[in-house]
């Protein structure tokens, strides 16, 4: 048992506890925000110190490898950006700032554990740690919409957890173990390659995880929860929670169920096609920007699942990108882009107190830089160069075509065209509409720093993607 391997998570947990304790004794609550953001340096430093390690511990339940370390750093960066962007939002729940920051940190810890376990029960616990923190955060505003969102998320999330647990139980029942690598070994050994019961287990696992990543038909919670939750939490849900879901799926399906990739690959391919189409088509009809981005995040779950689907027809002879590396890069670029968009929305809606797209009219005059940042992020979501979204799409499409999924790519590119319509509508309103008032839109330095980081990241990855792609390639190199 090597506790050092767990140091990022332990330090993060300690940080959350420190924030809660400080909350009791400190009057000036802004210090809590500073402490929680600055404190993230510690787990990040531990993560970087572990970089390159490839070990397991706790009887194989915990694994520290390039993949989990990549995701740990990823979640820490996202948590930092979310916390920074929360500074402009925190006045809405003045009495509970400490709990808010601590819950964000704890859910980040849950996500880090999700990326780093290879044992079904640990995965389930990590997932619950993440989810329960997020349920609470969703209802944090305590107004009717937020409470409804929190309750809805909790109830549907509980159902999804039950389904997931059931799927895990079936896999365990057939293979006799909860360790992913042992499951993989037991599939050919136990004659389970054509087992309908195992296939049923896989379907249940897809359903359980599908809830986390918001794929059709487990997406119905997304619009309401995204709309009702505090905007920083919406951003958090749309990127971190989704990324954690994908990290677990990659780990479980590649390590445990690799021999059955032909079966689950096609499930993901079909789900991808339906998910992206539904997300994009319904997004057209939205008038609330948070709801629109909710459907856009469903659509992006569809694009992301192309990276899962692209593995099924794995042909060792081909060069080119593998599905997982494309997926990881897409996740990173999507996270930066979507966070950037939500941070801009936080600043704008703080001033105008509305999330209606129509109220963004003439925003380019009132807040030129915020509008430019939001426009840049929306353009990246369409996938137009020179942004991260462009390279991410090219890369994931290349992976899919390489594995013979040309039909899926054609659906995806047509979807990208549909999405241009509703993303550009926001740009149009901001740049062409007449301002509803002449008041400027203020923003704090913390929010501006987070937004600049996201936007520069989007541009940087669009121009020099290899910087991150190289890391993504190493991160997934353990998957065949």
């Amino acid at each position: 048992m090597n506790l050092y391997l767990l140091s990022p998570e332990i330090s993060l947990c300690a940080l959350a506890l420190v924030v809660i304790l400080l909350d009791l004794f400190i009057g000036r609550k802004w210090i809590l925000g500073v402490v929680s953001v600055a404190g993230l340096i510690v787990p990040a430093a531990f993560t970087l110190a572990l970089w390159g390690v490839n070990e397991t511990s706790f009887n194989g339940a915990l694994v520290v490898d390039p993949f989990s370390l990549f995701f740990k750093l990823f979640f820490l960066v996202i948590a930092a950006l979310v916390l920074l962007s929360s500074t402009d939002y925190a006045h809405k729940f003045a009495g509970f700032r400490g709990e808010y920051y601590a819950l964000v940190l704890l859910s980040a810890m849950g996500m880090m554990l999700m990326a780093s376990t290879r044992e079904l029960i640990s995965i389930y616990i990590a997932l619950e740690l993440t989810s329960i923190s997020l349920y609470a955060l969703t209802g944090f505003l305590k107004d009717p919409k937020s409470s409804e969102a929190g309750l809805k998320y909790l109830l549907l999330g509980a159902v999804a957890s039950a389904v997931l647990l059931y799927g895990m139980a079936m896999v365990f029942g057939l293979s006799g173990t909860t360790h992913l690598n042992e499951i993989a070994a037991s599939i050919p050994a136990g004659g389970l390659l054509a087992s309908p019961a195992l296939l049923m287990g896989i379907v249940l696992l897809v359903a359980g995880f599908g809830f986390k990543i918001a794929t059709v038909p487990f997406q119905m919670w997304v619009p309401d929860v995204y709309e009702g939750a505090p905007t920083p939490i919406t951003a958090y849900l749309s990127v971190a929670s989704k990324a954690a879901g994908f990290a677990v799926i990659l780990r479980v399906f590649y390590e445990a169920l690799g021999p059955l990739s032909l079966d689950w690959g096609i499930i993901f391919a079909v789900l991808a096609a339906i998910t992206m189409t539904l997300g994009n088509v319904v997004a057209i009809a939205q008038t609330n920007i948070k709801r629109m981005l909710a459907y856009s995040s469903i659509a992006h779950a569809g694009y992301l699942m192309m990276g899962l689907a692209a593995v099924s027809a794995l042909d060792p002879g081909t060069l080119g990108p593998s599905g997982p590396s494309a997926l990881v890069f897409f996740l990173a670029s999507y996270a930066l882009t979507n966070l950037g968009a939500f941070i801009a929305i936080i600043a704008i809606s703080n001033k105008i107190d509305s999330d209606e797209i129509a109220d963004y009219s003439g925003m380019a005059r009132r807040a030129p830089l915020l509008a430019l940042a939001l426009a840049l992020c929306l353009i990246s979501l369409i996938g137009i160069p020179p942004t991260a979204g462009f390279v991410a799409k090219i890369y994931i499409f290349t992976a899919a075509v390489d594995y013979g999924l040309i039909w899926l790519v054609i659906i995806a590119v047509i979807n990208a065209v549909i999405s241009a319509y509703y993303y550009l509508r926001v740009v149009r309103v901001m740049y062409l509409g007449t301002p509803l008032s002449e008041e400027r839109v203020p923003s704090s330095w913390a929010l501006r720093a987070a937004l600049s980081f996201a936007c520069l990241g989007v541009l940087f990855l669009g121009v020099y993607p290899w910087a991150l792609l190289r890391i993504a390639e190493t991160a997934v190199s353990l998957f065949p």
Partner: protein, 494 residues
């Protein structure tokens, strides 16, 4: 690696845009001077390239090559050959003139000129890229500037037209992307030079080759535009500000024709031959339909816009007649039409600026008020209908000569003759338009209307001079174009 001329030319306008965006105080005049400076610099540099270009080599020159995304073999790979060099010069020239044409724009001038320059960078990149992903990247860059330029500074149903432009273009490029990736998954490279030399078609099989060919072709056909994918063009043209119409008609749609030669014909010589009869027929339909519809237009700007459809039909005819002469003619036609239509749009813009009327029936008797505009308008109009001594004649003559003698499509003589008929209709609408707008009794409402001022005269005279120069001595370009077409024609194995 030698001196990176091409990167500098491509990114000069972008640097200008950044300079404009960072300007502390954005007085319109200063913004315009910066824009003019950077575009002029790009033009002068590309003109220098024209003289440094080695006319005895047929491969790409001034090559720059660097790995960009190693894992999928994407390169930053630039180069120009005889096919792209004229397009490069056309772009920088019209880019500079577009800035001059916009001199009167003061509303949100900073944004306007910044986007105009970004647009130019995108188009320049398309003509210089030799890597399909880089090519696609630049192809897409142009969308957002165009969208904003049309929808903010346009007139009429500008938002509708801008969105229509975006959706058409994106749909075309989406399928093109599918084609590019499908090609990559079988060839393992995005390198356009290598792809053209590979002789991929036997390995792909005719079904797959046809599928990829048409996925790519569709993207380019929307851009060119080819009937029946043309409906975005009149809307976008009519509602765009003058300088944007000039760029749209002058260079943007040439990306389609250029890409058809560079990608479709070069990489798929056999598939091109198989489907040439179909595409040639489509070309003739574009020519005749475009010309016939143009005849019926009552809006001056829309008339010029529709005439592009018919003129681009000649480009398509020249390309898929697949003879060396006709492809050279098609390339020359793209250059010549770029200049002619650019000039026509600039003139229409002038007439509209002075009279605030674009409807042909309402205009009339302007000859006395604006003699200089009339003269240049007549030159441009006559060049559009292919009068000898103008670039239009040289280009169209080569297209017709080449396609008449082409051996690829049986019965192409009939198509060519039908295409020539298009010229007759062109003469009809050009002369009729000149007559209705400029001649007839002077109208009282245009009493105090002024002629072109000094800057405007400089713009239109310089374009007219280029038209005459190429009309009188076409070899100045055909020598270069021939070197670009030669290897592509050689690949056809005829």
């Amino acid at each position: 690696m030698s001196f990176p001329y091409l990167s500098i030319i491509i990114f000069l306008p972008l640097m200008g845009a950044i300079a404009i965006a960072l300007l502390p105080r954005a007085e319109p005049r200063r913004v315009k001077l910066i824009a003019a400076f950077f575009t002029l610099l790009a033009f002068l540099l590309s003109a220098a390239l024209f003289f440094m270009f080695d006319r005895s080599l047929d491969g790409p020159q001034f090559v720059e090559q660097a790995s960009w995304i190693p894992s999928i073999n994407v390169q930053y790979f630039l180069g120009v050959d005889g096919l792209s060099l004229p397009m490069l010069i056309l772009t920088t020239m019209l880019g500079f003139l577009a800035v001059l044409v916009s001199w009167r724009i003061d509303r949100r001038a900073r944004e306007y000129f910044a986007w105009l320059l970004v647009l130019e960078t995108g188009i320049l990149g398309v003509f210089c890229s030799l890597d399909l992903i880089l090519f696609f990247l630049f192809w897409e860059v142009e969308i957002i500037p165009m969208y904003l330029l049309i929808s903010i500074w346009g007139t009429g149903r500008k938002e509708y037209s801008a969105m229509k432009f975006v959706i058409y273009t994106l749909l075309g490029s989406a399928l093109m992307l599918a084609g590019i990736l499908l090609l990559y998954s079988h060839a393992g490279t995005f390198d356009m030079v290598a792809l053209a030399q590979m002789g991929l078609e036997p390995a792909l099989g005719s079904l797959l080759a046809t599928a990829i060919f048409f996925l790519l072709f569709f993207g380019y056909a929307v851009k060119l535009p080819v009937f029946p994918f043309h409906t975005w063009l009149p809307d976008a043209h009519t509602d765009a500000p003058t300088a944007v119409s000039l760029i749209l008609a002058g260079i943007l749609i040439k990306m389609g024709g250029y890409a058809m030669i560079r990608v479709c014909v070069s990489i798929f010589p056999e598939t091109s031959q198989t489907y040439a009869p179909l595409l040639v027929a489509l070309a003739v339909v574009s020519v005749l339909y475009g010309a016939a519809v143009t005849l019926r237009q009552r809006d001056l700007k829309r008339l010029i816009a529709y005439s592009s459809i018919s003129h681009m039909g000649y480009v398509l005819l020249g390309i898929f007649a697949l003879s060396q002469v006709s492809m050279t003619g098609a390339t020359l036609q793209m250059f010549s039409h770029g200049i002619i239509t650019g000039l026509l749009f600039a003139l229409v813009g002038l007439v509209y600026d002075k009279t605030h009327v674009r409807s042909i029936p309402e205009l009339g008797g302007l000859a006395r008020r604006m003699p200089i505009i009339l003269v240049v308008f007549s030159v441009a109009g006559l060049a559009a209908l292919g009068l000898p001594g103008t670039s239009g004649f040289a280009a169209e003559f080569l297209v017709f000569l080449g396609s008449f003698r082409s051996t690829v499509v049986s019965g192409i003589q009939i198509y060519t003759i039908l295409g020539v008929l298009g010229i007759v209709i062109t003469a009809g609408y050009i002369l009729w338009m000149l007559q209705r707008v400029f001649y007839g009794p002077p109208k009282a409402q245009y009493e105090g209307v002024l002629d072109a001022d000094r800057l405007e005269r400089f713009t239109i005279f310089s374009l007219a001079a280029v038209i005459m120069l190429i009309g009188i001595y076409p070899r100045i370009l055909t020598d270069v174009i021939d070197m670009g077409i030669l290897p592509i024609f050689g690949g056809l194995g005829l």
